[in-house]
Symmetry: C2
Subunit: 297 residues, 2 copies
């Protein structure tokens, strides 16, 4: 495939850094320019060989780049779009890695006036609870899913190009309507994060928290792993996707309240019915996904 | 230490099987007698070298045993206590591995008329979502916590003996009031299980469940791992510990409802406050426990 001549990564963290590494390893990128707010962090990215050059001015970073990847928290995207708008080359393709898509599309529409044909909204479903360029690695996307949510305004040529690039990282790329993306991710990713954060916070406020945490075993650690994720990133996601998240959370709360009644009443039949259905569904999921479809958020 | 001459394991599953293996490896047990309802399963336990002999009659199994370990679901304990009562040698020590303690103690009191001095209620906080003797291994308890909850009726000599045996498996043994045990475990273990079961069941009932599960990544898999645990075992635990479980679930529901309002309102400050407190608490927990305080429930 045709090489990217200059790739600008705005936000050189776990995702942006891993993408740069993966595209370098696949030898499909010429120069990689990194951009962010923290010079020390960007220096480390350069020292690690993730980027060739770096700068803190996004407009400067996108100047002369033929591919721009926005990997900043979704709450920061609108301002960023506004900043880079005047400096973008007409033929430059812009994509993002945000965990919610309707909000990012709205931000782009606001910043650009109308949605640019060269903007391809995307979301790699990969990550760990780690953050930062130090945690980045070229294999992060191998076997992972990447969802592109092109809009009616998006140029199919741009979408194809972004798809090809993600495929070079070893990812499985699919397309989805942005609203549907947000609903699916609210259920499988955003809701679990909210539940895990709320649980740890609730227990941490209890009188015997020291003892509680001392006796917390592996099940609890697994269950709450995602509560070690970046609070700021997840605040942005929760806010950006609040419609879909609130909807699925309300449904869950209703089910949980019902289960609570069954527990309070000691209704073993009702309890085991829920537990059995859940175990069946999860065991089927694991079977379908394969036992090693490992660490990602 | 003095060897156990004949150990009877009632319920040769993951926990019972692993305990037998560990005590054998530590060379602190003579003969191991296994008991359960399923002959084929017990034959496998014998073939695996976990037990020397087996039988399906619990009264027969405890006859002549100086240590009896009850490793059946907590819902089955009362009947079991009644069955073994006439066959227990006067000096035989009885302990259990149930995940709730007040319920087991009540069952013993009911079955025996009064609590036997030789009964030491216990709970190894170890396990995986796997079940069955095939999953058992001698190292399961290494570095894990075992909580003993002796009652005023319990003979301290019996408690010391059970403590020593668990220490031989590499476990850290501590003592706790049974009611407090049930509260702590409701928070760190029973509540997460209920939340995970309820989540998977809720998503499995959604129209786009196939797509939802297809895009579920590692975060979701970790979060829901405990929903692959035995539904019957967890029904028993939820019923046996319904008082403490309902209390902590109600507190959690209240907090979650509040967080839901913050999300619906897009109140980033309120959201990030919860998320930050949770991340801090969890990161501290991991620091205290060490990164490899691995797989256990």
């Amino acid at each position: 495939m045709r090489k990217v001549q200059r790739l600008a990564i705005i936000g050189v963290g776990l995702i942006g850094g891993s993408l740069a590494r993966a595209l370098r390893e696949a030898d499909v990128v010429g120069e990689v320019v990194g951009c962010g707010r923290d010079s020390a962090h960007l220096q480390r990215a350069q020292a690690l060989g993730v980027v060739d050059r770096w700068m803190t001015n996004p407009a400067e970073a996108v100047t002369g780049s033929d591919l721009v990847v926005i990997a900043v928290p979704v709450g920061a995207m609108c301002d960023l779009f506004k900043t880079i708008r005047p400096a973008l080359a007409p033929q430059a393709i812009v994509t993002d890695v945000g965990s919610t898509k309707l909000g990012v599309i709205a931000a782009a529409r606001e910043a650009f006036g109308k949605l640019p044909a060269s903007f391809v909204p995307g979301h790699p479903i990969a990550g760990t609870e780690q953050t930062g360029v130090e945690a980045s690695f070229a294999e992060l996307f191998q076997g992972r899913r990447v969802i592109l949510t092109p809009t009616p305004e998006t140029d199919p040529v741009a979408t194809r190009r972004v798809r090809e690039l993600w495929q070079q990282t070893g990812a499985q790329v699919s397309e989805m309507d942005p609203r549907h993306h947000d609903q699916v991710l609210a259920a499988t990713s955003h809701l679990p994060h909210v539940l895990a954060y709320a649980l740890v916070d609730h227990l941490a406020a209890m009188d015997d928290r020291t003892e509680i945490f001392a006796y917390a075993a592996g099940g609890f650690r697994d269950f709450t792993r995602i509560a070690s994720s970046s609070p700021e990133m997840w605040r942005d996601i929760a806010c950006a996707n609040r419609e879909a998240l609130t909807a699925v959370l309300d449904g869950y709360l209703q089910d949980l309240q019902q289960l609570r009644e069954a527990i309070a009443a000691g209704d073993g039949e009702a309890i085991v019915t829920v537990f059995r259905r859940a175990k069946q569904a999860r065991d089927r999921l694991i079977e379908l996904a394969g036992p090693n479809a490992g660490a990602s958020a």
